[in-house]
């Protein structure tokens, strides 16, 4: 499989704390990869570096063989890197439909990019179709008219993934997509992620390891800022180093 994303000695320091320490992380085109690790092991910091939330202290990030180390977030989205957030982040003062419009319009030919005012672009048929498609994929068609503020947390999570998919990413970064959800909602989101396999390249950070074990083809483990183990999920969880770092915190493959 072709390599889509690769980091080289990626490091991020915050006032003496090294949150991400010389990490070499690779993602191949088309795979679904998982990143696990105890709290504070640097998983979210790694995502923040990959998505451009802040620049690294040192090291390099290459996407599709080109360096993106210092690109701002919106340029990375244009290249095809899209993410969701640990705490669901959608626009709660807008309606569900408007959230979709915002995501879809960005990459519409003749849409938002060239002309700033685009009065009519939101009513063009291709835009309407793609918004409807984005909501249908996450099962929110019937709630299009509702204000987001009134949605359940699970629906907000589905919407967030839906609008992120509407960006047509080549690499989708999901930061703890199951956090804070009920069992019923977890089942919906897991089902959605499973349906993405083969269509998108996905990297998932997750605490609920048991829920994503069957979803991911490859598992990476982080501890204290370092990538300590990588490989097929079964092998990784059997690795003594992984067991050691989880010992007393949570049992991995339960």
């Amino acid at each position: 499989m072709a390599e889509l994303l690769a980091t080289a000695a990626l490091t991020k320091r915050f006032n003496g704390l090294t949150a991400v320490n010389e990490v070499d992380f690779r993602v191949s085109e088309g795979e679904t990869a998982g990143v696990i690790g105890p709290n504070g092991s640097g998983k979210t910091t790694l995502f923040n570096l990959l998505s451009g939330f802040f620049p690294p202290s040192s090291g390099e990030i290459r996407f599709d063989a080109a360096s993106i180390t210092r690109l701002p977030p919106h340029r990375r989205v244009a290249l095809g890197i899209a993410r969701t957030f640990q705490l669901v982040s959608v626009f709660s003062t807008l309606s569900v439909w408007e959230n979709a419009v915002l995501a879809v319009l960005r990459f519409q030919p003749g849409g938002i990019r060239p002309g700033p005012f685009f009065f009519r672009s939101a009513r063009r048929a291709p835009v309407l179709e793609r918004c409807a498609e984005a909501l249908a994929r996450v099962g929110l068609t019937g709630k299009a008219a509702l204000p987001v503020a009134g949605l359940s947390y699970g629906d907000k999570r589905m919407l967030e993934i839906g609008i992120t998919l509407a960006l047509r990413p080549r690499l989708l970064l999901l930061d703890e997509p199951l956090a804070g959800l009920s069992d019923h909602e977890i089942a919906r989101v897991v089902e959605l992620i499973r349906s993405l396999r083969g269509q998108f390249t996905v990297v998932i950070i997750e605490h609920k390891i048991s829920k994503i074990l069957e979803l991911v083809e490859r598992l990476s483990v982080m501890n204290e800022g370092r990538l300590i183990c990588e490989g097929a999920p079964g092998e990784v969880l059997a690795d003594p180093r992984v067991r050691a770092c989880y010992w007393g915190k949570e049992a991995p493959a339960c």
Partner: protein, 340 residues
């Protein structure tokens, strides 16, 4: 087949064309009514204030960027027009154009600086630039602006016939510009651009992760808001025939902020209603308070104190201003009746 959500979901879809025309008719009727109730003499000034408040609402209400330096652009429009009338020629159109161009150019340049900040820093850095502008017209440029003495200027009648020094014509002209500004902002705020500006207010960082260069859109909105403020300033010059450093003083910004807060930020109707309420308070309290004092035979404090009381009431009891409160009441009533 294309899917169409209910219209309620979709503020970016311009409602039927009739809606905008209805709103404009309502606004025009409101202005005429106001002109009948109070003296026409004041109406041009009121229209100028309405335009200024609308421009501020785009920046603060819709985009969430509170500025204490918006008067810089009002003042640039006013002084630009006045300087042209004194040192250029007497064409009102050219004077307006010069004022707009001066303010737009300044906003384009300064926007590149001030929009790197947000929150309190944004408010204060704008005020700092405003103070600089105020100082410049007061003394370093006094050779041209005549400093505190102010600058008198005269424009030729529009189309050779319409003199803006006649109250009715001044009202008609400023009122027409107000309607045009309202229509422009209505279209803009209901367009996807408006959607983007509102989403920047809620969570700018998230908008960047949807792939938008938010700085660019903030800059466009800032330049538009500043240019509309300059349009109000240019009209002020044409109608008054006189400008002084007062028009570019950051102090005037307080009135604008109060008006938007009273009416409800983030709604054009709110901005207009707030501006009207503020003008009513500001113009009638000074008349009513002394009358009341005499009537009741007690010494009541000055009207500014009562303005403060009104603002306190609004901040504590009418969150979201007049329009925001009414909308929230209506919304709360509906779901109660419609719940499954």
């Amino acid at each position: 087949m294309t899917f169409m959500p209910e219209r309620a979901a979709f503020s970016v879809q311009p409602a039927a064309r009739g809606a905008l025309l209805r709103e404009l008719a309502l606004l025009a009727a409101g202005l005429l009514l106001l002109a009948l109730v109070i003296r026409v003499h004041w109406m041009a000034d009121f229209a100028v204030f309405f335009i200024l408040v609308l421009s501020f609402d785009l920046l603060y209400g819709y985009m969430g960027h509170l500025s204490f330096g918006h008067m810089l652009y009002f003042g640039a429009g006013a002084y630009g027009a006045a300087l042209w009338l004194v040192y250029g020629n007497a064409s009102a159109w050219a004077a307006l154009a010069v004022g707009l161009a001066a303010a737009a150019g300044m906003a384009a340049l300064l926007g590149g600086v001030v929009l790197r900040t947000r929150g309190a820093s944004f408010a204060l850095i704008n005020m700092a630039f405003n103070e600089i502008g105020h100082f410049l017209v007061q003394s370093p440029l006094a050779a041209y602006t005549l400093g505190e003495d102010g600058l008198s200027c005269t424009a030729d009648p529009l189309f050779g016939a319409i003199s803006l020094y006649e109250d009715r014509w001044a009202f008609a002209f400023c009122g027409a510009v107000l309607l045009a500004v309202y229509a422009l902002l209505r279209l803009l705020t209901r367009s996807p651009f408006g959607l983007l500006v509102r989403s920047i207010r809620e969570n700018e960082s998230r908008v960047r992760f949807l792939g938008y260069d938010t700085f660019r859109f903030k800059w466009i909105a800032f330049v538009i808001a500043s240019t509309i403020a300059a349009l109000a300033g240019g009209l002020f010059t044409l109608v008054q025939g006189f400008v002084s450093p007062r028009v570019i003083s950051p102090f005037g910004n307080v009135d604008v902020i109060f008006a938007v807060l009273i009416g409800g930020a983030g709604s054009l109707a709110g901005a207009l209603i707030g501006a009207a309420a503020f003008l009513a308070i500001k113009n009638f309290l000074p008349v009513i308070i002394p009358e009341l004092s005499r009537l009741l035979d007690v010494k009541l404090p000055q009207w500014e104190l009562w303005l403060g009381v009104v603002l306190l009431l609004i901040v504590f009891s009418l969150r979201g201003g007049i329009v925001g409160t009414v909308q929230a009441r209506l919304r709360n009533r509906k779901p109660a009746g419609e719940a499954q």
